[in-house]
Amino acid sequence: MTTNTHSPSAAQAPELKEFRADVAAWLADNRPADPGFLLPQTFMEVGSEQVLDFLREWQHKVWSAGYLGMAWPEKYGGRGMAPLYQSIADQEMKRLRVPICFNVIGLGWAGPLIMDIGTDYEKDKYLKGILNAEDIWCQGFSEPNHGSDLGSIQTRAQRDGDNYVINGSKIWTTMGNYAKYMILLARTDAQVERRYNGLSFFLAPMHTDGVTTTPIKKLTGEYGFTETFFTDARIPATSLMGDEGQGWGIAMKTLQYERGAEAGAAGGISILSIVMNDLLKMAQDVEREGQPLLKDPVTRDNLVKFLIEEKALYLTDKRIAIPALCADYPNSLPLSGKLRSTEFFRRMRQYALTMQGAQSSLYVGDEDTLDGGFWQRAYMNNFSTTIGGGTSQVQANIVGEHVLGLPKD
């Protein structure tokens, strides 16, 4: 999710306009040529060394040019500038559809978390490697059989001298096979089974004996996630973030970053932006009975419904900035943001396939697919957003309980 809270008048200032033009020019000059293999639409589809190397080189290049981590302090590899500059750079990257900055768990979640509550040691050790793409990060929250229910985490971390010994397994680890570090939630106190205060938070090194990963093949046929196994894996005790037992609170803070509810991310685009304009273009290109589909009245009505919804979504941040208009249910818009946007995109991408007619029954690898199967991948991969980070159904529970005050199950 993108946040864009600056005022339009500020963005019109001459120095910002000039900056925007500079970014656009740099991106146009430096965008990589088509590599001849499928590039990921999101950071959750980095499925081969080839793709990894390509994206690593691109992120390093963006950072070297000064367009990543712009609001982070200079001593940690940033530029120490106002967040507005990063936001402009991100808008240009999105608009020009350059490749993503793939190290998202570092850039968007672990990085801001470390900046916020990390020690100086942790900041010195981790932040720069996140920006320059030398250190890839992954996240170890979900476990097999406990998808959205983090309170049930079973992975154990047992203190032994200067180490913690980790045993258990994690699932849906994005880039688990390439990551150097994991933000890991594990149970340090077995006495409080199923309780939140027995959990601790680690910045765990992945290149450790006893840590193994198995790639998971996704419904699209692509890779990008692993299952991660810990078998008596000894990690240094200095990997513990905060104190033992504080894991739940730190994990919740991390989720705030993940859901876009807190600022502080290093920037860069993490997913290709697919907007209504792409659907309108398709409706113009696809023909029915010698006419563009865009002339069909039913299609038009459906497209307008999506356009209304898109408009309300894009105006959300503006309304959040006006407390008087959010007084009835103060947390409604921030807490429903993930639910509203991911479900909108799911339905919109599904409709994009419907619009293609029988052509959408082809798949990646067939020469007759539209845009190489772009939309088939886009729709099916979108489930990672309606499932990951708390399913839409869990999100609806959160909104119902925390915004409307409805009772828990």
Partner: protein
Amino acid sequence: MTNTRTANMALAFSDEQGMILESAKSFCRDQSGMTAVRGLLSSESGYNPEVWAEMVALGWTGIAIAEQYGGSALGIGSTIPLVESMGRHLLSTPYISTTIASQTLQRGGSEEQKSAWLPRMVEGTVATLALLDNEDWGATTTSCTLSAEFELRGTKLLVNDGAVADLFIVLANHNGAQVLVLVEAADLPAEALSKKVLIDETKRACNVCFDGIKLSADAILPNSESALRDSRLIGALLTAAEATGSSAAALDVVVAYLTSRIQFGRLIGSYQSLKHPTVEMLIGMDSARTLIYHAATIVGDEALDQDAEIACRMAKAQATDALLFAGDRGIQFHGGMGFTYECDAQLYLRRALWMQHQYGDAQHHRLHLANLLLN
């Protein structure tokens, strides 16, 4: 980022709007509790004249009227927080009819017409638009005529607050063009008005027969065409604002029931089959609220431009669809109680059914939006 024709992302809220929202919230809550609302359902006029007088005294009828006519010239966008609050508490008065009529006059009238009527409307004289001569809000023609000798012929349907209006602004054909004409209620015979039984018992409307009413040339609004277009869009926006308030109220009623009713040993709000659609009501209302204040931000005193038209139509389509969903689910989620007249849920469903057609239903606005956005 998006379709260039949907690119206007203005959403601002002035200090004046903030003050109006604050006082309107408490006024509507105090003056329009459920007992008061219920008490008015079967009344003749449908509103409490003392409450109306107080709203006039607060200056609310003049919010969007120019200072030279006694108004405070804050723009139509400043009435939105008030109208939304009225919807929230089902407070019915001739405010919305009169505000749409005063906008029509201010935008389309001659100096003489405006000086004659706008100061009176600021002081509480009720005025209303008489547009429909069939059930179709999308109709581009009218069968009502104003002859070359300025004699009116035709019957207008569902004229809001017609029974208490002192002034009608009537749509008619004249010399091959559509015009808006001013007709004083005092010039109508008593039998010209026939009251209608409405599905929303908080509202009042009648059919009005204008046959044989003789007018003069200066009854015609000189700028009729653009005033007609703007007042239809402003009517849609004010309806959307009222509907958004009513959606929030319907949501409150549902949440109150879901957090107090126990079935099978559990509060029924703990069932996800009820919880999740209730969240959907909230989201629908929130989207409507975002869109009405976006429209309130860009609808000014000048003729409405394309961005303003898009914003009004989006707000109306979203707001009345959201209210229809909330009203419908509101009945269902009250179970057997929801089937009774006594249960307040019926008030919102009836309002939703009435309101969806005011100034054009969602499909009508989406059809226009398709032409604006997709051609």
